[in-house]
């Protein structure tokens, strides 16, 4: 019974924790612009993150080492440093976006400008990282993120033309008035939002933090195989609501407030309150995850003691990196840079850097020295290899598409 409870809790946490500012923005934005015709990109991204997060979780559990530790060992100091540079930059960019997202959610509650909220939000995030144990931290924000399930009620209440939505999703076509480059640019944005590298750094380091052992591999599988797809479903709900309410009104998503409009229309104040709380919980949770990931990647590359499983003074450089990342993110955030724009750039650049993260994971997941008999099966390797080719294609296409479409405008 207790085991079942643990598994359920893990699944729910993974589900609520899946969504972050990147998913919120990318899914509403594309729904309002392309309807459901880009749903395939979300599905593809979810399959990818499931595949590689499971590998990363398994690798971390068996080797008790973080992903970046192994990246360094496999790629050598030079190449891994390049990889670290790119991964850290993108994770840091995502941290700015998430802090901005929390601030925007608070602005919707208070009508106080988001720029003023950013330092306070950042301080709170640091305080949680400093004081709260790993597991409750994860669980609280993951579960709180589940209020976004209110969108399911909203969808049902709006009683849309389900078969029409399904038709759009299952037989995708480029919306009239949009070019193919723009369509694929946003496909990449959705893909990048679902597969953001920090999720893997965080998930695998979390397995080490929670001291997972071989017997927890079931938990790993349950979290990833059930929790992540359910999280992906939340993403698709955002897309569907935007398709039903925003698209026919020619409303394009430039602000967080617009994302909340469909649910408000369906459920009034209750729906609006749930959405804002959901925004807050998911982005705050993700701010913690990205800030920690900044510390994880750097510390694991250099071999420093990292993690919240030891006292802060016993992982001094790790906490120093986390602290500095948060401080610099605040300095960038208070320049008044638009968090939604930062989000768009961070997810697209994530897509460009995906092979750097996922290639070493695939290699180590096949290493018998670490994995023993728990190496990848043939199916995982086949899918993993197919995905890796896809990731390389996406990475190569991203920057040209970004320039051609002028970042999707």
């Amino acid at each position: 019974m207790k085991k079942l409870f643990g598994v359920t809790l893990g699944i729910l946490t993974a589900m609520g924790g899946f969504v972050d500012i990147g998913d919120i923005v990318a899914n509403s934005l594309t729904g309002a612009r392309f309807g459901m015709s880009l749903a395939w990109a979300v599905v593809l991204g979810v399959v990818g993150i499931v595949l590689f997060a499971e590998m990363a979780g398994r690798v971390a559990t068996l080797s008790t080492r973080g992903v970046f530790d192994l990246v360094r060992e496999r790629l050598g100091a030079r190449v891994a440093l390049l990889n670290l540079g790119a991964s850290f930059f993108i994770t840091f960019l995502t941290l700015i976006a998430e802090l901005g997202g929390v601030a925007l959610a608070l602005q919707l509650l208070s009508d106080v400008n988001y720029v003023l909220w950013i330092p306070l939000v950042a301080f709170l995030a640091w305080l949680v990282i400093w004081h709260v144990r790993f597991e409750p931290m994860e669980t609280v924000f993951g579960l709180l993120g589940l209020v976004l399930l209110v969108m399911a009620v909203a969808l049902w209440k709006l009683s849309p033309d389900w078969s029409g939505l399904w038709h759009q999703a299952s037989q995708p076509a480029v919306t009239s008035g949009e070019g193919h480059p723009t369509y694929f640019y946003y496909a990449i944005a959705l893909f990048g939002a679902a597969m953001t590298p920090y999720e893997v750094f965080f998930f695998s380091s979390g397995a080490v933090e929670e001291k997972w052992t071989k017997s927890d591999l079931v938990l790993n599988k349950a979290n990833v195989y059930i929790g992540f797809p359910l999280g992906g479903l939340l993403s698709l709900m955002l897309m569907a609501l935007a398709t039903i309410v925003l698209l026919p009104r020619s409303i394009g998503v430039d602000h967080l407030s617009q994302v909340a409009l469909p649910t408000t229309m369906a459920l009034g104040k209750v729906g609006l309150a749930a959405m804002i709380i959901g925004f807050f919980a998911t982005t705050f949770g993700a701010a913690l995850e990205t800030a920690l990931s900044c510390g994880y990647t750097v510390s694991q590359y250099f071999g420093w003691q990292w993690g919240k499983m030891v006292r802060p003074r016993e992982a001094a450089r790790f906490h120093l990196v986390v602290l500095c990342s948060i401080i610099v993110a605040v300095l960038v955030g208070v320049t008044g840079i638009d968090p939604i724009k930062v989000t768009e750039y961070s997810i697209v650049l994530s897509a460009a850097a995906l092979p750097l993260t996922y290639f070493p994971i695939l290699v180590v997941a096949n290493d018998r020295e670490y994995m023993g008999d728990k190496v990848n099966g043939w199916l995982a390797n086949l899918l993993g290899s197919v995905f890796l080719v896809l990731l390389v294609v996406v990475a190569l296409a991203t920057i040209p598409l970004m320039i051609v479409t002028r970042a999707g405008s």
């Binding site: 360094r72 100091a77 250099f302 071999g303 030891v310 006292r311 001094a316 602290l323 670490y370």
Partner: protein
């Protein structure tokens, strides 16, 4: 000669870039480079005498302009005038597996100085730095 090459490759595969773990289970840096010595005698094999760890050693691995930059930063921040990379004598190495285990606590290692600096100068000044984890 071919034996020497084989030996070096072996060290490269099994030691380079591995995690160093101290006797209390704390992570204590990476194997950034190795110090080899060829003993006197004709067909003697080079022997690993020390593990080099920390930015001074890493700079050499990275090379180029960035490597020189890291080295110069390390030299400037170091209390000694011409420090050279931090060394861990191979004598304290207890086991070489997926990680390299040493038989001393990490504060006894030269390469741990930066960690102590971060702890003493920044982290310890923040209230709650010593609070128990889990």
């Amino acid at each position: 000669m071919s034996v020497d090459v084989g030996r070096t490759v072996w060290a490269g595969l099994h030691l380079m870039d591995r995690q160093i773990v101290d006797c209390d289970g704390f992570l204590a840096g990476k194997v950034d480079d190795l110090e080899l010595e060829v003993p006197d005698g004709h067909d003697a094999l080079p022997v690993v005498v020390a593990i080099l760890s920390g930015p001074g050693a890493l700079a050499g691995q990275i090379g180029g302009r960035l490597g020189r930059f890291i080295a110069s930063v390390q030299q400037r921040l170091h209390p000694e005038s011409d420090p050279g990379p931090a060394t861990i004598p191979f004598g304290v190495v207890k086991r070489v597996e997926e990680h390299v285990e040493v038989s001393v606590p990490r504060h006894a290692l030269q390469s741990n100085r930066a960690e102590e600096w971060a702890r003493d100068v920044v982290i310890d000044k923040i209230p709650g730095a010593g609070h128990a984890p889990e």
